[in-house]
């Protein structure tokens, strides 16, 4: 083709100069005959089949394989939540609980107010008349496994294991107390009037779990909201461990979720969650806010990533993670990017052909 173009240009130049380019014209004719005799280029059929199968395979894989990590948002109400803390958590505030029954159990050390003399205990039960009980400070070290659980009676438990846990509780009024592992040792009656600072009970758990020993817990009925606005977590579950009354040697894990919504952020899919729905999250990483209000279940919001998001049990369980194809379908930015790239490439290619005259 290039030689034909070259000879054509030379023949034209000669004609303009008044010469007769007979030889060039003959050469051109010969080259055109050769060109016409050449076979046309064909894409082999087998190659087209291979490419087609490869495309089908890729599309099928994208349809079947789930993305490794899904971004998930939870907005749930639950009777119990257990989370493993990824950072230490320090909470300051005023969380009042019903003063008539408060229990601190299984702590490494509970330091009583100095009015009781120098003594520390592992468990404590308080019954306060005409006064108040207020938790002022809670500290959970990184790695702590924190459970917040509510019961039908309106009482709540804060249970911690696996890491250092400490806090302070201020008590005013007429204080009756019991200490000891069986809560059978009576404390002397103490009275903290409204003109003096309340008695401070400081509790601490060293985080060294002992097999067979119950973890430390705070038990009380909230009369004010306890709110943890931002907890960085690496594990999250909504089940409670109960002994099967029919088979005491068996333990059953029951979902404590009462209602809520799961949102798969990547696909904007919203899945309503009914009471006792079995939700399983694996290898999660994200942030939780938890709100415990009086006589209500715990309200939980979570946003983060999970390696597995499964709803239901047994043969009715289904993974909520999107497949790669679903994920790609919902990636508007990604689609826009490739669309823009193709459009610009096409425009540039057309402009090049227009400017250079290449057909």
């Amino acid at each position: 083709m290039r030689e034909i173009e070259l000879i054509g240009r030379e023949a034209g130049a000669k004609a303009v100069a008044g010469e007769t380019p007979i030889a060039d014209v003959e050469r051109l004719k010969a080259l055109q005959c050769v060109l016409a005799a050449l076979p046309e280029k064909h894409i082999p059929f087998s190659l087209a089949v291979i490419v087609g199968i490869a495309c089908l395979l890729i599309a099928s894989l994208a349809l079947a394989v789930e993305v490794p990590w899904a971004r998930v948002q939870l907005d749930l109400t639950t009777k119990a939540i257990t989370m493993r803390l990824d950072n230490d958590l320090s909470w300051h505030g005023a969380w009042r609980v019903d003063p008539e029954q408060v229990r601190l159990e299984n702590f490494t050390r509970i330091v009583l107010p100095p009015e009781y003399g120098p003594r520390s205990e592992s468990s404590l039960e308080l019954n306060v008349q005409t006064g108040s009980v207020r938790v002022d400070h809670l500290f959970f070290d990184r790695g702590a496994l924190l459970t917040i659980a509510t019961s039908e009676s309106g009482a709540a438990d804060l249970v911690v294991s696996g890491a250092l846990f400490r806090g302070d509780m201020d008590v005013s009024g007429k204080v009756n107390g019991h200490t000891g592992a069986g809560l059978d040792n009576s404390l002397p009656l103490e009275f903290y009037d409204s003109e003096t600072p309340p008695g401070r009970f400081s509790f601490m758990y060293n985080g060294q779990d002992v097999r067979g020993q119950q973890p430390p817990l705070i038990h009380g009925s909230p009369v004010e909201v306890l709110f943890f606005p931002d907890i960085k977590v690496i594990n999250l579950s909504f089940v409670d461990e109960r002994v099967n009354p029919e088979r005491p040697d068996q333990t059953v894990f029951t979902s404590q979720i009462t209602s809520g919504t799961i949102t798969m952020i990547d696909t904007s899919e919203q899945i309503p969650v009914v009471s006792a729905a079995a939700l399983r999250l694996a290898k999660i990483r994200g942030r939780v806010s938890a709100l415990l209000a009086p006589n209500k279940d715990v309200q939980v919001k979570f946003e983060g990533t999970a390696n597995d998001v499964t709803l239901g049990t047994g043969e009715f369980s289904r993974s909520l993670k999107p497949t790669i194809l679903e994920w790609l379908f919902h990636q508007q930015k990604l689609g826009l990017f490739w669309g823009a790239l193709t459009f610009l490439w096409g425009m540039t290619w057309s402009a090049r052909r227009l400017i250079s005259g290449v057909s």
Binding site: H92, P114, G117, S132, H137, S172, P197, P198
Partner: protein, 244 residues
Amino acid sequence: MRVAGLSALVVLFFASGTALPQSCPVNLTSSDSGFGYRHRPMPDRCEGLYSAPVAGESLQLLSFLIGHPFDPLPDHRLLITAPDVHALGAQTVTVVAHAIPHRVYYRMDVTVPSGGSVQWPLGAVVLPAGLKPGDIGLVGSVQAADGSVYYVPLGLAASESTASRGLQPVIIFRTLVDSGSFLWRLYDPTGIATPWNKQGQRIKAGEPIMVTLDSLAGKVMALDVAARPLDGDFIQIRLKVFNP
């Protein structure tokens, strides 16, 4: 040659001390001025102004020092001296400095060896930023193996020869809310608590409250501090203090 030159430049860049900023114990939003909170050498410390308030307790410990020390030499240096805390099983004392006036966001973090001292150059941040040395509070603390935190009084003097020996430790607090009363008591935690000492006058939010501790008996003592906000319940903190 060109590749070798570029490599040498990269190595030089990463080898230079200024290219690798050292981390500070707290993550503060540094002030825009040239005196922002960051790591500073000689001595190794983090010091400067920050721009956003940090969430904290309603009752705060601001300073725990022996005597009235802010009388710097002409070279604008002060000597921070830490007590011997080996009895607590610690090798170092963590020192944190804050501005005592409310809403002045200055902080310094430095570590002082047990029984040792460190020179604090006031000319680096404090004086150029317009702060008065007397408006800075210093708190020394030690974390024991069981996680308990003990507060220790720091000495502050122009030099070792002028160190304020024999003076009483002075501790400064502030509340973040207007309070109707302020109470405190210092007692041996292995004994019976002493009665509360009371300052009955109204205290404005942010106003420093100074307490002289005259009976630190050379061992760990408990210090209970409480304030009653005008519109609320008592707020209180309990500190373990140690003066060897």
